[in-house]
């Protein structure tokens, strides 16, 4: 343990003494995908890949995987792909129109043919408000309404309450043991 501490401190030295900027450019993470528009059935979402996402003018293959033309129940997953060309700044914009019966998650992956850069997004269709469960507002618990409780039940209950307190104490002692262990 002593040496761990020493190691920590020693390494803290290295940690601070190493300028991040001294490393090759590009270790800093980007955030280059934005999604606007609505992920609803029949809706169109716009997926933007910011400048630098791809190399200028490279071919970008975009594929979207998700449930196809939807009606009800489990749907076969289908994949659609299309090829785009990145802009002179390496940006791209993709408009995704979801099927009229869209449901679940549509995963989009854009891959630069030259750079190999991968950008992803997922569009999940928000389920329509089912409005089904309004009847469940009542209290389902059957209340105990007996007027007289036998003295016996009270003793028993008293014992159980004391026990509950005892268990809390046991809990504390076990925690101590845990510290010890």
């Amino acid at each position: 343990m002593k040496k761990i501490i020493a190691a920590i401190v020693l390494a803290s030295a290295a940690l601070i003494a190493t300028p991040a900027a001294a490393n090759a450019a590009g270790y800093v993470p980007a955030s280059n995908v934005s999604v606007s528009g609505s992920a609803v059935a029949g809706g169109t979402a716009t997926v933007g890949f910011a400048a630098g996402s791809f190399t200028p003018d490279e071919t970008v293959t975009v594929s979207v995987t998700g449930a196809g033309a939807a009606t009800l129940g489990a749907l076969p997953t289908t994949t659609v792909s299309k090829t785009y060309v990145a802009s002179s700044t390496g940006a791209a914009t993709v408009r995704v129109t979801l099927p009229a019966g869209a449901s679940g998650t549509y995963s989009l992956t854009a891959t630069g043919a030259t750079s190999g850069n991968v950008a992803t997004t997922a569009l999940t269709v928000v389920p329509a408000d089912g409005a089904a469960a309004t009847a469940a507002s009542g209290n389902g618990t059957l209340a105990f309404t007996g007027g007289t409780i036998s003295a016996l039940a009270l003793w028993v209950a008293g014992g159980a309450v004391v026990l509950g307190g005892g268990l809390l104490a046991v809990r504390t002692s076990v925690r101590r043991q845990r510290t010890a262990a």
Partner: protein
């Protein structure tokens, strides 16, 4: 005649009820004594008291297990109460006999002081010896928790119901703790090299340059542990590692899409993903490619935890005239040192002197083991300490514990979210990044599904003249396109796997974050840019499943330099992210 018999039976059960109550009260007394003895270190007394507890608990059990009591359990109203009390007695007896007693008996061996290394070595024998008792206690408590959950309280009077609920809550918490202890006791000997030396890679994460997993792992060291003896081996800074032109291990498409392939190319970036198992495997592979050594596990720790540990060692005077204390460690190591010692060579000398000073303090036995473990515990609780093992069996034990660095797992008790920050400035400005995370849950829909809102407020607390008053090394000097003094941050918000992304806002305006998935987790990732003094608030709404409408929510987030409490977010249904 029937009435007489009934009266007799009532009297019998009543008398035994009182006796049961007395026996249970005795158990409480024994537990109190046990507490006192354990805190004063009277382990032999604790073992005796554990025996007494075993006797009284066993008496309560036998008092409630005779045929008359058994028959009375079938009476209406009273019966359910009687059987509940009987079940409580049985559970307490099981816990006393198979959990408290065996663990108390090995207490003398597994004292907290046993973890204080003597001559650079932790004695593993007592831990090995404690394994069967702890394992039995774990199994017993787990079964007790399940038994308590099964007690029928549908017709019990409220004092009994309350007691049973208290029992359930206690047992569920104790069994979780016992599970952790059991894992620790099962893992410690093998991970500390009881059957052959183990090598670990230690990542020192710098939270002044945030990574989802903690901070830029700017420095790396190898530790060897053989039969409890720890030695420090090769050390390296991240600049020693070559930059791979493709990830050293294949990355999942989700990891690439959210964090970029740099996650697998730069040692500084392996903790861009909040999945520590991924980070650990990448770091291990990079280490292997550089030094040819395949390590057995990876540990991550940060200077804030070091500060907590200094609380156990006390202040450490340095040759430079500085004094390293638990209060100033983070500030000195993550901020002041840059300004004070702008020359990296001098910084090296400064930290080397700090290292040797702390080392001699510790080797003189200058630390309190209880406080030391507590300090480490605080670091763990705050998500600053992670551990991964290359051994599949060991990793299985680690999974789900506070050190594993897994994505948050939701269950029926809590729906868990994650907020992960990555620095996109390419600097050490996050010492000046203040973060407040909030979370709320509200049912806004007719179908009863909850709307969850995660709120993240970031503030750049750097001085207005940061561009000129802070060292270029701290501001980044604009090298990656960020004006010196400003902080650029990527913020990834993870919802439970059952969640669906709905909408997001930044400072009240509609935002267009990257919506994505990481495995089965829905994620919304933003990028913020803050000038000194500026702050921004992000809000993300997710839709949860109907069965989680009343489930409490919790959020974990990347531990920064400073610790902030989570706040509750009130949700307005007409505009959840407004």
């Amino acid at each position: 005649m029937v009435i007489l018999l009934l009266l007799l039976a009532v009297a019998w059960v009543g008398v035994r009820g009182i006796m049961t109550k007395n026996a249970l009260q005795e158990s409480v007394g024994a537990v109190d004594a046990l507490k006192a003895q354990l805190s004063s270190g009277d382990t032999s007394g604790a073992a005796r008291t554990a025996s007494a507890l075993e006797r009284s608990a066993s008496r309560a059990r036998s008092l409630t297990s005779d045929p008359v009591w058994g028959a009375a359990q079938f009476l209406p109203v009273v019966g359910t109460n009687l059987s509940a009390v009987r079940e409580v007695s049985v559970i307490v007896d099981d816990v006393a006999k198979d959990a408290v007693k065996p663990v108390a008996s090995v207490l003398g061996d597994v004292d907290v002081h046993a973890f204080k290394p003597a001559n650079g070595k932790v004695d593993l024998a007592p831990i090995v010896k404690a394994q069967p008792a702890v394992s039995k206690a774990d199994t017993t408590l787990d079964a007790a928790a399940r038994d308590a959950d099964r007690i029928d309280t549908s017709g019990t009077v409220s004092p009994v119901t309350d007691a049973v609920n208290q029992l359930r809550a206690s047992l569920s918490s104790v069994s979780a703790q016992a599970d952790t202890v059991n894992r620790a006791v099962a893992l410690a000997p093998s991970m500390l090299g009881v059957s052959g030396a183990k090598r670990y890679l230690v990542l020192f994460q710098n939270p002044a340059e945030l990574r989802a997993g903690g901070g830029n792992p700017g420095a790396v060291a190898e530790l060897t542990v053989a039969d409890g003896a720890i030695s420090l081996g090769q050390q390296a800074s991240t600049s020693d590692f070559p930059v791979a032109d493709r990830p050293v291990l294949p990355l999942s498409t989700d990891t690439q899409g959210l964090y970029g392939s740099i996650t697998g190319e730069y040692m500084q970036d392996v903790t861009l993903t909040p999945r520590f198992d991924t980070s650990a495997q990448l770091a291990r592979e990079m280490w292997k490619q550089k030094y040819g050594q395949q390590v057995d596990g990876v540990i991550a720790i940060d200077p804030v935890t070091l500060g907590y540990i200094l609380g156990a060692t006390g202040p450490v005077p340095l040759a430079t005239g500085d004094t390293l204390t638990s209060d100033n460690a983070a500030q000195l190591l993550l901020s002041d040192a840059y300004a004070k010692y702008p020359d990296p060579t001098v910084q090296d000398a400064f930290f080397a002197s700090a290292a040797s000073a702390v080392f001699s303090k510790v080797s003189e036995g200058g630390f309190d083991p209880k406080a030391f473990i507590a300090a480490l515990g605080t670091g763990v609780d705050e998500g600053r300490v992670h551990l991964w093992s290359a051994d599949a069996d060991e990793q299985k034990q680690l999974a789900g514990t506070a050190v594993s660095g897994d994505l948050p797992t939701s269950d029926k008790e809590t729906q868990r979210f994650g907020v992960y920050l990555n620095d996109a400035t390419g600097a050490k400005m996050d010492y000046y990044l203040d973060k407040t995370v909030g979370l709320g849950s509200e049912v806004c829909r007719k179908d009863g599904r909850p709307t969850w809102v995660v709120e993240v407020t970031l503030k750049n607390t750097a001085p207005a003249d940061a561009a000129t008053s802070l060292p270029e090394y701290v501001t980044g000097g604009g090298e990656y396109g960020v004006t010196p003094g400003a902080i650029r941050t990527n913020v990834a918000v993870y919802a439970p796997t059952s969640g669906v992304y709905v909408q997001a806002s930044q400072d009240g305006k509609v935002a267009s974050p990257q919506t994505a998935t990481d495995g089965s987790y829905p994620v919304a990732q933003f990028q913020t840019l803050l000038s000194p003094g500026e702050s921004t608030t992000l809000k993300v709404a997710f839709l949860g499943p109907g069965n989680a409408a009343r489930t409490p929510v919790d959020v974990t987030s990347t531990p920064g330099v400073h610790v902030n409490d989570t706040k509750h977010v009130a949700i307005g249904c007409e505009d959840p992210v407004g």
